[in-house]
Symmetry: C2
Subunit: 420 residues, 2 copies
């Protein structure tokens, strides 16, 4: 048997042990994990120093090096995040529906853990602790396959987490870190369909496409967020401008940032000059259709590529539309099913927008930047799904569980002839 | 663009039209579909006669030919099933959770359709109408890829359904039947990950493995049902015997039939002779472990292959176990995550069994044969999932939808500096 299969089978056995844990035990386990992270701070920092040294030698610098770096405060933050996850309500065991059938059978729908979750991620070592804590809190075991740049840091963090598992008599394999980072090993992991219940890739579009292409296990993913703000004819212009500035400039590099502004033609003459003033003074480059270029001087023409782009930068594509229907058509063509916003004072426009737009998160008069597990009340986020299955949008602990049926009877049989 | 991609894109456009339909419109649509099936009865029977003739010429006979055959009564039954689906509660639009965040944002979780569902199935032409009706009722569009034996019947049924769609001004592509049945075309369909939201294969294990292997779109499937009955030391023997006879003999060819009996050693001496008497007089072949063979004469030895088998026949594997833990271990090793039953009068044994067994349906003192969408109160069943994701166990209309977020605000922004 291959090494990765042996590892994964160990994780599956551990998933069985996790399955039976009650909420209180999981909470204690996570608190001990946080304590172990604090206690093993020096070992984690030493491992991280090794990763940083190798990364620097490879020429990695800037934001990428910063994402890799741990310090006292970041380790404290990682441990604190584990404690916050421990404080979340436990989705496992939740009875979502109860029904008594005419024949007296009592049917319950009950949430149970998924089982074995494979996390495939890149440079940030904090994902190792975050993802492990959230998976375990929902009663799962986890296989972590991080990036090679962070291997020593990830090993040190996983070692702390595994020490806590052993203290609780749970197989350490409930947190399994893959050390063999060859691509063929990752492919094999992604094809262990009798062991792995779900793979969640987190990182750049290249990684996610690689996982989607090779996986034979279920994958939940999102490639990109091309989020739209539609400013209706009836919109409160000041409100719409706030949503636009927040959506575009508060953190342009994230997936819930705005990329395209759609403006109803009846409000364009008044609204677009305000857009230009507010955004250009914040360093945002604007690219527009012919009608928007007629309202704002110096706009570069927007192409279809611009409308399809996730800029992740201070660039905004603009289009003037004839009506709500044309805005919806634009989003259907160019959207990424992530998050769309309407600014309107007209309830009927809001209703039609929500009704027609199939994205994971649809906002009325609120910033796209709230499209985030924490902001939407999920407590913590394991990822975002734009796959319209299982979970759609930000995913919290509940998305790491599934409902099954528990049936209680008094000897009911389906065919009366079966009674002796 | 390939023909199958063009077809699928047409279906995706139709999904957008379906997305906006309210419950009443969908109900009227399904009633008109049922009426169209009744009205086009002669054309459907003529098409079916052609399929039967070709099948007979190919040497198909017996149960397989019978599955293909339609008659007046079966068409009436198919139309009636569509009306029953129309009467189900609409899962779309259901608000499953409401929350007001501290910043005043109102968050709703609302069920929406999945989008485009590809059904891949074999000989039964009734699946064409059943699956289409259930997909449409949940607001989806459907691509139907049936078996070659039933092509003419499927075309005639789809033609009736599409006539009803056109009457309602919905693109007929909402029910798209694939006529090109080449394997490479099916593979291309299963890889249209930008169009198809879910593939559901229904049929033999060979078909399902083929779909799972080639799909790049999400697949929900189950391969087989190796269902267990564990008879605890405390079981009511008469009750347990009823569950066993019902589970094994009432319809041995279905996935929720029992395949293995596990008996606590303390009850084996008394219970196993009753098992032998009841089942052998019903023509069931028994295969057992050494300890069960000591209790019942003439038992053939059971191998590991027997314990892993879905017999779909009048054969039962038997094993005497030392205790509940050994029964659980056996199910963990040989089970298929479908349905398991415990017969017990001990609440603690029931609790431990439910707690440790991760199958989609777990029954206490009830027959495994109730593991079925209709019996569990789902109204209709599109399939059964043993994939521990999205849906687990029998899947009804709700499993053809997903929850998304609708957020209503009054201009809230995430970063206060965004306010102008």
């Amino acid at each position: 048997m291959s090494e990765i299969r042996t590892l994964a089978l160990g994780c599956k056995d551990a998933a069985q042990a996790m399955f039976a844990l009650d909420s209180e035990s999981k909470c204690r386990l996570l608190h001990d994990m946080a304590a172990a992270l604090d206690a093993q701070r020096d070992a984690i920092l030493a491992a991280n120093a090794r990763d940083l040294q190798q990364a620097t030698a490879k020429g990695i610098q800037g934001a990428m090096l910063d994402r890799l770096r741990l310090d006292e405060a970041r380790i404290t933050g990682i441990a604190e995040a584990v404690r916050e996850i421990a404080a979340l309500p436990d989705p496992v065991g939740l009875v979502t529906r109860r029904d008594t059938r005419p024949n007296g059978l009592e049917i319950e729908r009950v949430r149970i853990p998924l089982g074995v979750i494979a996390m495939i991620y890149e440079a940030r070592p904090n994902v190792t602790a975050d993802a492990a804590a959230l998976c375990l809190m929902a009663g799962n075991a986890v296989i972590l396959r991080g990036g090679s740049e962070a291997l020593h840091s990830n090993l040190a963090i996983a070692s702390a987490l595994r020490a806590a598992l052993e203290k609780h008599d749970i197989p350490a394999a409930a947190v399994t870190l893959v050390e063999d980072l060859r691509r063929e090993t990752m492919i094999e992991l992604l094809q262990l369909s009798d062991i792995v219940d779900l793979a969640i890739p987190r990182g750049g579009e290249g990684l996610i496409r690689f996982v989607a292409e090779h996986a034979r296990v279920p994958v939940i993913k999102h490639y990109k967020g091309v989020c739209h703000l539609y400013v209706d004819a009836s919109a409160d212009e000041a409100l719409a401008l706030n949503l636009l500035v927040d959506g575009k400039t508060s953190r342009p590099g994230v997936c819930n940032a705005l990329e395209t502004l759609l403006v109803h033609r009846d409000i364009a003459a008044s609204f677009l000059p305000k857009v230009a003033q507010a955004l250009q003074e914040r360093g945002v480059e604007l690219r527009g259709c012919d009608r928007s270029r007629a309202r704002v001087e110096g706009l570069r023409p927007a192409t279809d590529e611009d409308y399809a782009a996730e800029f992740l930068d201070l660039i905004l594509a603009i289009r003037v539309v004839d009506d709500l229907g044309m805005a919806i058509g634009h989003i259907q063509r160019f959207g990424s099913d992530h998050t769309e916003v309407i600014a309107t004072r007209n309830d009927e426009s809001a209703r039609r927008f929500v009704q027609a737009i199939r994205s994971a998160v649809v906002m009325v008069n609120a910033s796209s930047r709230f499209s985030d597990g924490g902001e939407l009340g999920l407590g913590a986020e394991i990822g975002i799904s734009t796959t319209r299955l299982h979970a759609y949008g930000p995913m919290g602990a509940e998305a790491l569980t599934v409902e099954r049926f528990v049936v209680r009877g008094e000897g009911q049989v389906r065919h009366s002839q079966s009674r002796l």
